[in-house]
Amino acid sequence: MIELKEISYVRFGTPDLQMAESFATSCLGLEVGDRSKKSLYLRSDDRAHTLCYTEGNPEEQAVGFEVDSEEDLEAAAATLEALGHPVHNGTPAECAARMVKAFIGFKDPTGNSIELVVRPARSGRKFFPTRDIGITGFSHIGLYTTNPVRDEKFWTQVCNARVSDRIGDISLMRITAIHHTLAMAPGTKPRIQHVNHQVASNDDVLRSFYFLSGRNVPIVFGPGRHPTSGARFLYFTGPDGMTFEYSVGVDEIEDEETHSPRSFGFEPSSICMWGSKRVGQGIPVPAAKQ
């Protein structure tokens, strides 16, 4: 089994690096950790980077998960090859571009680009956000799946993810004690559905709501509260149509041995217990009942 230890980063292609930087620093509140000619590295915690924009096609997206060692990486590669997933071994230049010691790339059964990395770099310098946003770190992603049953099997049987809860066909999976690191939602093609950063308090969520509203950033959902994880959330749209989320207060699963996933119906109150409604596209929420 492939032991995923932590989610490390997301990588996005973008046709407009300058716009991405402007949004990431003035709205999202991330700190520029480093930049190269065609890439921008953004920090959200004590890691050297957790979000990377590279000049290119916004369809090119990848998410990185950390594994323990290079031996584990080799074993994972073998497992994946045996299952018929072509594996790409990261070249030294590619490793340097990701600030990791080693990595392999492959596609999950839907076709999402996944990277397994060893020794992602931390930074000795304290993370200093570009605005008073209260970000405590990059925490999880939503990923589209073209076959929820097949993909849940992949993540929980080939990898070590465990299902914490389900909302209809949406599967919330954890790789640590945190309620979910991966939210898998039905879709028609591979794509990252949203990128979550944790903030320190309710106040941060609401402050950002007014801050972003004041800058005409489209708020697509919230402020709200997920009944599954207990998190207070705010979803909004960033560069290239990507949905970003701030949330606070995600439950931890303390009874790892005995926890059994709960099922919530695919209805608005399963996604927000406060009654907020999604606006436009971005988060797959059922339409409000008439």
Binding site: N202, D203, L206, Y210, M273, W274, G275
Partner: protein
Amino acid sequence: MTNVPIVQVCYLRLGSRKVEESARFATDVLGLQRVGAIDGDVALRSDHLHHRICLTEGPPEQQSIGLELPDEAHIEPARAALLAAGFPVRDADANECRRRYVRQALITQDGSGNVIELVTRPAHSGRRYFPSRDAGITGLQGVGLRSTDLAKDLLFWTKLLDARISDRVGEITYLRIDDRHHRIALYPSSCKGIMEIALDVESFDCIMQSNYFLKERQLKILHGPGREAASDQVFIRFQGPEDCLFSYVFGMREPKAGERPRQFLLKPESLCAWGSECTDIPELSFPAT
């Protein structure tokens, strides 16, 4: 001479030209429990007391605020102090006391002319409070009053009664009578009257749930959801019938012993630390800086 002690803000009496309509709002939107009352009044509960809000037939300007005194022994000293300072005082007659569900009441006015009733032994209910909707109301937090004469009002509240100043935003003055940061807030204004009736709810979730509940019903949210900088309480202020402003509040802090009143700038961020702004209530709106 000691100041007149106040146990609590006991009730609010609100004149209404459409008592039934206001009562429907109080139950269907606010979530209060309607209980029987006499002489055509509509009494509304929010907690263990017989009622906290009483709607009476009359003009909306006809409002009064009931404050509880510890006991009857405080009636005469209160009367003497108020009369000595030149405030009008009269005894409520037997029927007025009956309608207020209290044993005794002195009816007076603050410096702006807001009617204040000093009452003893307000009725409690033996039945537990059962709300009309799941708004999570746990009681009456307090009241915001419009002040046309702040100096005279402060004399009334802090020199005759024993309210103390907690903090100020510009000249807006928060007054405390118990452990909470404030129960009464004075808002400088061009007219007298109750500006806000604040109902306590049990959690932050309740505030946000009501936010969407009110929006879905296209009721006018006037301020918030927000967090008051001075008191830390989370609030949502919304429009009630006949220009009455209600709010749900949660999480007001309790100042530490020895805390001195702080002065905040008269700016939106002093009223909401999150960044919500109010444009429809003159007392809460300031020119952009």
